[in-house]
Symmetry: C2
Subunit: 239 residues, 2 copies
């Protein structure tokens, strides 16, 4: 059975303006690979209602799971929750359980829940909350979409809350072989090996370091025996 597939949607002008270097994509990609869920696509969109709604609909229809990052805080540019409600055609309002969780974060309790902070308790109808052990304000899941915060420490904590609930496939295992010359010197042979082992994905990643060319050949498969056989063939090219 093929592994479940996933897509990620990163929401935020700060990534697209080059102000912030995204780290959530890199983190999620690694964790999903370990879990045996194949991340097939990532999209980054700005804080724009139409763009977010369209991306959520497209990714939700095409993949088993969708993970979003960003836009669920208390400020005017935090519009993700409303966009998710619109994409699923459901209502959204402050929800009692989310409100209680949020209040527990502040020493003053309920009294601390200003209108801005209460925005973080607005949850689309029918969603399930995602635990946020870092700063309380919850994420939520609706349908196959998991909605999480953009702050990396919170995002990563929410990923750990969500992953145990999902069914993974066979985790991909990988081997890598480094060669100290350009990839074109082994391209034909690599293509032949890739054709002989269809259950192994073989990637070739050239690099330049100190003015010299090199290539990392990375082999990935859920099948240990095929992975080992293909890796041996690649090593034989290098020796």
């Amino acid at each position: 059975m093929p592994n479940p597939t996933a897509a990620m949607l990163v929401i935020g002008d700060e990534i697209l303006s080059g102000r912030t270097r995204d780290s959530n994509m890199y983190h999620l990609a690694g964790r999903l690979t370990e879990k045996g869920i194949d991340l097939k696509e990532v999209r980054v969109v700005s804080d724009d209602r139409a763009a977010i709604v369209a991306a959520v609909k497209a990714l939700s229809a095409a993949h088993d799971h969708v993970f979003t990052s960003g836009g669920i805080g208390p400020t005017h540019d935090d519009i993700t929750a409303d966009c998710i409600a619109e994409a699923f055609g459901v209502g959204i309002d402050v929800r009692e359980d989310a409100r209680r969780i949020l209040a527990s974060h502040y020493p003053e309790g309920e009294a601390a829940l200003t209108p801005a902070r209460l925005r973080m308790a607005r949850i689309p109808d029918g969603a399930v909350l995602i635990d946020n052990p870092v700063s309380k304000a919850p994420g939520f899941a609706i349908g196959n979409v998991h909605v999480m915060a953009g702050v990396p420490s919170v995002f990563e904590a929410m990923v750990e809350s969500v992953l145990p609930l999902l069914t993974g496939g066979a985790p991909l295992i990988s081997e890598s072989v480094r060669i100290d010359r350009g990839e074109s010197t082994v391209a034909t042979e690599l293509g032949d090996i890739a054709a002989r082992f269809p259950q192994v994905s073989i990637g070739s990643y050239p690099f330049q370091r100190d003015g010299r060319y090199g290539t990392n050949i990375v082999l990935r498969s859920a099948d240990r025996a095929a992975l080992d056989a293909a890796t041996n063939d690649v090593r034989a090219l290098v020796d």
Copy 2:
């Protein structure tokens, strides 16, 4: 006149598997902002023909410029050039000028052009070459799509070859104000300021450091006077 818009397409399994942390997106985002071209969307897709062709078509139709990264090397997993040709409905073959440029990279000249290396001289019909001062193998542009290598040093060099040829808009200028408390404490006032200055984009980026909450408020505009006025209003919240 609004600024030109752009999208980026990152092609490569190595990003989606979490093996490699993308840096090209961060680099391009910063350079486009300086140039006055608004990066509106990024997509990351795997080395999959149907996924690449669909993304190129969608992004090319929706934006003034599209920049792609990855998949133009000599190995079996380098399928970007063929996908671009398919997306534009044109043929693709080894082109004489690209072949000459490539041969000039090797001390042995033409004799070094194995079938694998010649793949890097396959250019879709009607495309214009993009100069690669780092390792010769050219990128190319067809329609509004600029096709560049994935290796960061080469990608960055190609970006510098392309940007002077594009017409930018008014460069976005930005100011930022850091406050040493959570964003919810200023959320209402920030929303008011954002409403008063529609020509200024105001983003609120919370962070946690050493267990304390803080927020960076970033204001961006092409209009210096409006930017200064809005920034003053934000500073007044903090003092």
